[in-house]
């Protein structure tokens, strides 16, 4: 590989290739998993589990493309864009990506705040919570990517035991619901697969933090592991939700996974959902950190200004937007919007892949 645009990152800021697992996985699992069941079942009903598998395979393909692009070009998103499109068009696309990552962070923060408002503290003032959360995120991000990775590790470990509690809903459910019969047309399953890909959004951050990986080549398998692991978690969550809810009932449940926790019952503790939501605050935090980090990293690479200043600017934007978006309709709109945009950005990866591939061919032809 001709790593022509390799970006030098000081050794002490690098993360090991294993950590890519955490980065990819924790960015993929965010607030989406708390309520995705309803949306994927909207089109394909209980057959949506197939859609998740299709989406998972698609994500592996996209990951493969991303790695190919990165290895062919070296560097990161910014240098790739500049070398493919030139300064101006490339710059515009970079800004686009930067805003997209910012949007991801905003969506996660706002949706999680809504969950806290609906489930736990209806009287809570949004700005206070958002401010506290953003300050915390600022603290981690200014610490550098390695600190954020540490946070990712915490979030993965804290999120794991929550999976065990899927046992309770299965006990109360009808396993017959997931009888392996395909009842929907391929079209419907594909539409639902499109919806499910949105649950996996976030792995494209790899385009930004690639230069920070030590032994980038050996990180490939970890990224794929992470994506596979995420697929399995989504699959398990969906199957449990399908067993627990009847198909029509699921459409009346806004947050499938949180409502599932309601049935968890210990002799010493009821109403496990409060526990789950509290733990989820840790799962969501690295999500917001990574999004903001990547969003502010792009302008830094483009204009060579301190990341801190951009970060503060972005945080102010997220903060104001969080306060302005203040009812269910708007939040739902924000989610739909992010999903749409996210889908286009995913579709953009194959385009970039083809362009890079052509460029490489041309370059080789010119050299010989």
């Amino acid at each position: 590989m001709n790593n022509t645009n390799k970006i030098p990152v000081p050794e002490h800021l690098l993360v090991t290739s294993t950590m890519v697992f955490l980065l990819v996985h924790s960015m993929q699992v965010g607030v989406g998993i708390l309520g995705f069941e309803k949306y994927i079942a909207m089109d394909a009903g209980y057959d949506a589990w197939i859609s998740i598998l299709i989406a998972g395979v698609a994500i592996h393909l996209l990951l493969f493309m991303i790695y190919w692009i990165l290895e062919a070009n070296g560097g990161d998103l910014v240098s790739i864009h500049t070398s493919v499109y030139g300064k101006i068009l490339g710059g515009l696309l970079n800004i686009g990506f930067s805003f997209y990552f910012l949007l991801l962070s905003l969506t996660v923060l706002r949706t999680f705040t809504e969950i806290i408002q609906v489930w736990v503290f209806p009287q809570m003032s949004v700005w206070m919570f958002a401010l506290a959360y953003l300050l915390l995120a600022y603290y981690f991000i200014t610490g550098g990517l390695r600190i954020v990775v540490g946070m990712c590790l915490l979030s993965v470990i804290l999120g794991l035991p929550l999976l065990l509690f899927k046992f309770f809903p299965i006990q109360n459910g009808q396993v017959d619901n997931v009888y392996p019969l395909v009842d929907h047309s391929i079209n419907e399953i594909l539409v639902s697969a499109k919806t499910s890909t949105l649950s996996f959004l976030g792995f494209e951050l790899l385009l930004v933090f690639y230069p920070f990986i030590k032994n980038a080549a050996s990180s490939k398998k970890w990224a794929h592991f992470a994506s596979f692991y995420t697929t399995m978690i989504y699959l398990a969550s969906a199957l449990v939700a399908f067993i627990y809810y009847s198909e029509e009932q699921l459409q009346f449940v806004t947050w499938g996974t949180i409502s599932l926790w309601k049935i968890v019952d210990f002799p010493f503790m009821q109403r496990f959902e409060y526990m789950g939501i509290a733990l989820w605050a840790y799962v969501v935090l690295p999500n917001i950190c990574l999004g903001l980090w990547a969003a502010s990293r792009i302008p830094k690479r483009m204009f060579n200004i301190k990341q801190k200043y951009i970060l503060i600017l972005y945080m102010v934007i997220v903060f104001i937007a969080t306060i302005r978006i203040d009812d269910r309709n708007l939040i739902d709109g924000l989610n739909t919007f992010t999903n749409q945009i996210g889908f286009y950005f995913l579709m953009y990866i194959p385009v970039l892949f083809v362009l890079t591939w052509i460029m490489k061919k041309v370059r080789i032809a010119n050299e010989s």
Partner: protein, 360 residues
């Protein structure tokens, strides 16, 4: 360095300030354990709650208070109840919701919606239909050292471990929203100051249309779920034989195609004979074959008769429609409702008597 310190202080403040939300401890709120609703007339519904007050100090003994209010909508009832309560009413610990028979016959979708929507209410709340007045049932004093709420909930919980099928808010909503399945709830009755479980009420949508009497409940549970408890006695040749269930499994089989489905419900039960009202009977274990046959016959007949009744009333608590939907696909709700009354359903019961106790 200085900037860092200031920054840390800001973070600390913002974290502690998030704690500045109105919080309530058990002494300052009225925790509702039971709610009951009674039909008054076409418009009005009477709501009754039992509230447990906890003392602020050791000397104050916790006591139970009963409040009632009559109004048109659920929200009006709750604000009316609030006006009678010394502390804010909180539904987080609700464990039993009762509805009187008349109200349930009219339909309870509005009341169920309140339970389904409120995030503070658990999904394992028991629902029950009261033959008679829910208010009276809640306000009766049953026990000296237990609250009414705990007493009533205990009865439901205990029975659902034995002869009654498991019910809760989630299971009811599952059937209420789901296609091809109808919900059911236990029927409760107040008899001479004693509360008892009196059967099962089967719903069509949100309204009660059919009742399964107490004598059929065990067979009903056999049809619905796997369990390993419960007892049932039958008459054989003038003698009563009682068998304890130590493990029953139910499987639904579906034959035929989507338009001409045929169901068979296969039950396998293991049991232990616990009582024979004939002391002269020796070598009970030699009778097991005969007893097994008798129990099989008893449950098969009862099961078939019960399903026939369901079909006549067009209710489907077994979820046969759901079985069809899950296994054959392309479920057409209206077509199914048309064909349901005439769908052939077989019941096969296989009883294995494992032991006959420690006396011969």
């Amino acid at each position: 360095m200085k900037a860092k310190k200031i920054f840390l202080i800001i973070i600390a403040f913002s974290i502690f300030l998030t704690g500045c939300l109105p919080h309530e401890s058990v002494e300052n709120v009225a925790l509702v354990n039971i709610v009951g609703y009674d039909y008054v007339d076409n418009d009005l519904v009477q709501g009754t709650i039992s509230v447990r007050h906890f003392g602020r100090s050791k000397e104050e003994i916790p006591f139970e208070q009963f409040l009632s209010f009559t109004a048109k909508s659920m929200k009006e009832i709750s604000s009316g109840l609030e006006s009678k309560s010394p502390r804010p009413i909180r539904l987080g610990k609700l464990s039993l919701a009762l509805y009187d028979e008349r109200l349930v016959t009219e339909g309870i979708s509005e009341i169920i919606d309140v339970l389904a929507r409120d995030p503070h209410i658990g999904r394992d709340v028991y629902l029950g239909i009261v033959k008679g007045s829910a208010k009276e049932m809640i306000e009766t004093k049953y026990s000296e050292n237990e609250t009414t709420a705990r007493f009533l909930t205990g009865i439901v919980e205990q029975n659902e471990r034995n002869n009654f099928p498991k019910t809760n808010l989630h299971k009811f909503l599952y059937a209420y929203y789901g296609d091809g399945i109808d919900g059911f709830l236990p029927l409760l009755k107040l008899e001479e100051n004693e509360m008892k479980m009196d059967g099962i009420g089967v719903f069509k949508e949100d309204a009660l249309v059919h009742e399964v009497p107490y004598s059929d409940v065990f067979t009903y549970k056999l049809l619905i779920e796997n369990f390993n408890d419960g007892t049932q006695g039958i008459e054989i040749g003038g003698k009563t034989v009682v068998m304890d269930n130590i493990g029953s499994k139910v499987k639904y089989r579906l034959y035929g195609d989507r338009n001409n489905p045929k169901f068979s419900v296969n039950i396998k039960m293991k049991g232990m004979v616990s009582e024979i009202t004939d002391l002269t009977a020796k070598d009970t274990y030699k009778l097991t074959d005969q007893l097994e046959k008798a129990f099989e016959h008893y449950h098969e007949e009862k099961g078939k008769r019960m399903i026939k009744q369901f079909q006549e009333k067009e209710v489907d608590p077994l979820g046969l429609g759901k079985v069809l939907k899950n296994r054959k696909g392309h479920f057409d709700k209206e077509a199914w409702e048309q064909q349901y009354p005439n769908v052939p359903v077989e019941v096969n019961v296989e009883v294995q008597i494992v032991e006959t106790g420690i006396s011969a």
